[in-house]
């Protein structure tokens, strides 16, 4: 099912024309309402009239996370406060949080985008749908909530925490859909195991997973354990929240709601746009946002835009899975290492739980990488009960890591339950190097 065929199946020419018109309008809007952008455009000797088609976008300046922090709290807000009906804030672990204000129209567009996503996953008004993103300043909870209500399904605002109660509700209410982070989905599966709730006692059939990167192996694991089909949903609060892009039944990339969020892929070093299909940093321009529009916002997410038509009938462009973050990227002995690469290896080893921790240190001026993984009780057996056998397993894992990362990592196998489970975004890296 397609929620809005007019927008989701538009011809490419019509889409580009619409994007061009909207881009001109949004540039004019920020020029008159956001001093930060007016100054930037004036410095570059640009006026809104120079932006006529979507191809003119490359003339515009970039916006970075730092720009948002420097203009904390309301410096980039374009609409008057009286028009703002909701304020979200992104996590501010490394400085000021990012404050994003939404007008009534913004919330309505967001709900529409979320409804497109859920419909694409197969959610209908007959579903009972549990939203297990955190409710609060984080956009996940309320964003998904509005979308479920827009579709007309029954929303269960479970939020995070109290997972045992949630697991019982999933069984008792016959909850058929869930939105949460993929790591929370695994945590939920573990909790159900603990409570003795089996797959055939629950009716989950659709999972909308996002807010952190995940892999195909993780998808298989979640699907097997919860008996549902898991779909990727992507978003970020600086642009809107979840539903900037969403998968369809083909599960070959996520369709971007590009009538509202225009995507570009750039080289993160030269900042030059990259040709279609190449991997680089994802950049978004909000084409219709009133509260806090952004021009060419650098997401720091690495991915590619996929060429070709999608058999599902949607014509809006697809983005690949996120392959890393420009700021999660660790440089270890001069080699770029992404935690997601380690994750992909961990998930190929059935002896280990789908959890890991990277510990980076510097010993005698040499970077060291240690990867901790956890034994799975159900895969521990008599062939593993000697230090020699455990060393063999460590070596097998270390070899696989080396072939993927191109550097040597020390492996540490931990007892079950000793690597921290996260209920929100997982943290997978401890960097002990004192480089700054």
């Amino acid at each position: 099912m397609i929620w809005n065929p007019t927008k989701e199946c538009m011809s490419r020419e019509q889409m580009r024309e619409l994007q061009g018109k909207r881009l001109h309008k949004i540039v004019e809007y920020v020029y008159h309402n956001v001093p930060f952008y007016r100054n930037k455009l004036q410095e570059m000797d640009l006026s809104p009239d120079d932006i006529r088609t979507i191809d003119d976008i490359t003339k515009l300046p970039f916006t970075t996370k730092k720009d948002l922090r420097d203009n904390y709290p309301f410096g980039l807000q374009a609409a008057p406060q009286s028009e703002i009906i909701r304020i979200h804030a992104s996590s501010g672990t490394t400085g000021n949080p990012t404050i994003v204000g939404y007008t009534r129209k913004d919330i309505s567009i967001w709900s529409e985008c979320m409804a497109r996503s859920l419909t694409s996953f197969g959610v209908t008004r007959n579903d009972i749908f549990s939203v297990s993103y955190g409710y609060g300043l984080f956009t996940g909870g309320l964003g998904a909530h509005n979308g479920v209500e827009t579709v007309g399904a029954s929303v269960v605002p479970a939020s995070t925490g109290n997972t045992e109660k949630h697991a019982r509700l999933i069984r008792d209410l016959g909850i058929s859909g869930i939105a949460c982070t993929p790591s929370y989905a695994l945590y939920l599966a573990e909790t159900m195991d603990k409570l003795g709730i089996t797959k055939d006692q629950i009716k989950l059939r659709i999972g909308a997973f996002g807010a952190e990167p995940w892999t195909e192996n993780m998808r298989t694991e979640i699907q097997n354990r919860l008996g549902l089909k898991g779909f990727n949903i992507y978003g970020l609060s600086e642009i809107m929240g979840p539903s900037v892009s969403y998968e369809c039944d083909e599960q070959n990339g996520s369709h971007i709601n590009e009538d509202h969020f225009f995507p570009e892929i750039i080289d993160p070093v030269t900042l030059e746009p990259l040709p279609l299909g190449q991997t680089g940093e994802l950049v978004f321009t909000t084409l219709t946002k009133e509260g806090m529009p952004v021009l060419r916002y650098r997401t720091r997410d690495l991915c590619s835009l996929l060429p070709g038509d999608c058999p599902c009938g949607r014509t809006n462009v697809r983005m690949s899975a996120i392959q890393g973050r420009t700021d999660d990227m660790l440089i270890i002995r001069g080699i770029n290492v992404f935690p997601s690469q380690v994750e992909s290896v961990v998930l190929t080893m059935e002896e280990f739980a789908p959890l890991y921790m990277l510990i980076v240190d510097r010993v005698n001026n040499l970077d060291t990488l240690m990867v901790q993984v956890e034994l799975r009780p159900d895969y521990f057996n008599a062939t593993l009960d000697t230090p020699a056998a455990i060393s063999e397993l460590e070596k097998r894992f270390a070899d696989k890591l080396r072939s993927v990362l191109s550097i040597n990592a020390k492996v540490q196998i931990k007892a079950p339950g000793t690597i921290e489970r996260s209920q929100g975004k997982s943290t997978h890296v401890i960097d002990k190097r004192k480089l700054y």
């Binding site: 009780p377 159900d378 593993l384 009960d385 230090p387 455990i390 007892a415």
Partner: protein
Amino acid sequence: MTIRQLSIFIENQSGTLQKVLELIKQLRIQIIACTIADTAEYGIFRIICSEPDRACSELKAAGVAVAISDVFAVELDNQPGGAANVVGRFSEAGVGITYMYAFLLDGRGILVFRTDQADKAQEVIRKGSLRCLTEKELPVNA
């Protein structure tokens, strides 16, 4: 000819052994013999205990990495050279001992070990008329 042993993976950290022992206590499982194979980061805690099947499944359910394996428990002559005589027979037959530990049962020494070739080891035991302990003989007070 063999008895069952539990192997438990534990990390080298204060408190981890106690946690496992506490679980075993709560399950009312009696430990008859035990040993730890230690490395820098973890240990394999091996125990001969009462009700090994129940102990294994309950510990697994509690999230412990535990496995059950078959080991030989051979009775020794209580005199100098007792262990050498037993191990000697295996070496002569080219059977390697993977690991070994011992305990006393009613004043008799019992050598517990795993070999790298179980079939050949059984042949050595038969030919040498070595006496193997059975699980029924374990002093379980339950």
